[in-house]
Amino acid sequence: MNVSPAPAGLSSDRFREETAPVAELRAVTKRFGDVTAAKNLNLTIDRGEFLSFLGPSGCGKTTALRMLAGFEQPTEGDVLIDGGIVNDSPPFCRPVNMVFQSYALFPHLTVEQNISYGLKQRRPRMDRSEISRRVARALDTVRLAGFENRKTFEMSGGQQQRVALARAIVNEPKLLLLDEPLAALDRKLRKEMQIELQDLQRQLGITFVLVTHDQEEALSLSDRICVMRAGEVVQMGTPRDLYDDPKTKYVADFVGTSNFFEGTVLSVKEDMAQVELADGSRFEGRASDSFRETETVCLSIRPEQIRLTGKAEDGAIEVVVQNRIFLGEHTEYLVRHSSLGNIIVLAPRQAELAGTAFNQGDRAWLNLSREAMLVLRQD
């Protein structure tokens, strides 16, 4: 970590708090018996950012979150919050709050009592008037004013979700941890809550760490995404980085949709690689990494980067349209190539309006531009 000397006027502690990343995992490994849930995690969480852990269930994302919360202790490595190692500090000592997947609201307490729970644990005791002022503000923030005396089990899923959020943010944590908070909501409500979450994060300036298996959710909410697989970080970056420059097939597949063709590297020139596919056809694509010749790789192209045309152009490949799904602003085609198999193509509405629409059974040509083709490691 690069730490420049403290500027005059700032005590070193204060300085550390303001410049250090809000949290950090350093070579963190967590084992449960024989199972390694997290393997050598190294990452920093910046102040005020919205970071997502993305991956399928069992990839270690929840373990990472629980180590930040203090529910699990790392087997190896260090967990830092505000520049200090907190490995052995229990959850009730950490300036961190969590929104649980099932909300974990206290069934014997009212909405107000649930939200004030954290403030009431503080020692020295917080003024009663101060507590009710902050609870009222938190209720306002999540748009639940007037629900103070409700019982949580009488509320809808979306409302319970907001109580859980209010119960966490009222404590003004350094880090707000969200464990698949939207998983239990229906699609429409989930969309609404995503927007609310994002607004809330901007408004409060609290660092949010989200765990999700929903790539769309991660893409739309996060400043940065940490893609995980089998306990390891596969790639970390902004949503755009991950979408445009996935480093492996796994990331390209998990973040967005893509077409993949397996092949071997023939030659590498600067950042372009020539790949020969199983059927002998050759394509050029952007190399996402340095590759050796004869290495087995994967060519990837996003469905929206393929252009579908009605006549043979130079370098285009011939396909037969299998299926056509109207998606509103896009039309999704499933086409079949004699040796490459099925390929998904996303055609913009304009193309269709301009008269290039295809029906099942039509012959068509695909333009796979070399700029859009990515050569990925076959992980």
Binding site: M98, A104, Q121
Partner: protein, 283 residues
């Protein structure tokens, strides 16, 4: 058959049972309590309040019951709670089953035999004998209220453990994590989350044990040795020994009324304690 008819049909066996086994005997006892004792015992129809006027003669039995039953219930609860807590919270799945079976093992033998074991343990050959070897002499345990208390706590503990265990076992562990996450230390979490959420189990256990203790007669008879009498013993005595059915009925009716009042007040209290909750229903 309409749905309504079917519902009545389904209620028939239970309803008939209820009528024949509960309402009928209770009515008989109620009517008997206003009658008189025949010359050779039994019941002679009459309408007199004499039997009720005579109740103070059995005051000691009522006193013993009303003191020892609540104390027994309370102590059972205090012993059962930590036990149930350990079983539900700190025991691995494998051991849970084993330990739960151990809790009910005593039920495999009759309470009569188990009480005889206590007669031996508390009697002259048992603990007092051991104490004598240590130089403490003249300790008398058997045939005292203490012996009866030990007996009833021993006998009814499992009934207290189970409901408390169930309420603690069902407790969502994420609530404890949430509490810790919100800054509550372990003891604060226990007081603010675990304990309030296990109140239903405590309430059920106490109710179960208390009601059964109010009618207990075997343990006082064996461990109280005719010195510590419960209302149940008075009833046995009145119906079987002195064959004073009218007086016995008056004592029985009085006990039922006392139980009804106590249990109603208790339910009210508990439900007030739980007004803010959905998951609570006592019995």
């Amino acid at each position: 058959m309409t749905k309504r008819e079917r519902n009545w049909l389904l209620l028939l066996p239970g309803g008939a049972w209820f009528l024949i086994m509960l309402v009928l005997p209770l009515t008989v006892v109620f009517i008997f309590s206003f009658g008189e004792r025949g010359d050779a015992g039994g019941y002679v129809p009459a309408f007199t309040l004499e039997q009720y006027a005579n109740l103070p003669a059995r005051l000691t039995a009522f006193e013993n019951t009303m003191i020892l039953a609540p104390i027994g219930t309370l102590i059972s609860m205090l012993i059962a709670y930590p036990l149930a807590y350990q079983l539900a919270v700190n025991t691995s799945r494998k051991w849970k089953t084993v330990l739960l079976v151990l809790v009910i093992v005593p039920f495999w033998t009759s309470i009569l035999i188990r009480s005889y074991a206590w007669i031996y343990i508390l009697g002259g050959q048992g603990i007092p004998n051991l104490l004598e070897m240590l130089g403490i002499e003249g300790v008398r345990l058997i045939y005292t209220p203490f012996a009866v208390l030990i007996g009833i706590i021993y006998g009814y503990l499992p009934l207290m453990v189970f409901p408390i265990y169930v309420s603690l076992d069902r407790l969502d562990k994420r609530l404890l994590e949430a509490s810790s996450d919100l800054g509550a230390k372990p003891f604060a979490t226990f007081m603010q989350v675990t304990l309030p959420l296990s109140v239903p189990g405590i309430a059920t256990g106490c109710m179960l044990v208390f009601i059964l203790l109010m009618g207990e007669f075997l343990i006082p008879a064996l461990l109280g040795g005719g010195k510590v009498f419960f209302v149940g013993n008075a009833l046995v005595d009145l119906f079987l020994q002195s064959r004073n059915w009218a007086y016995g009925s008056a004592v029985a009716v009085t006990l039922i009324v006392i139980m009804l009042v106590t249990v109603t007040v208790y339910m009210r209290l508990i439900s007030r304690l739980n007004t803010q909750r959905d998951d609570v229903s006592i019995m």
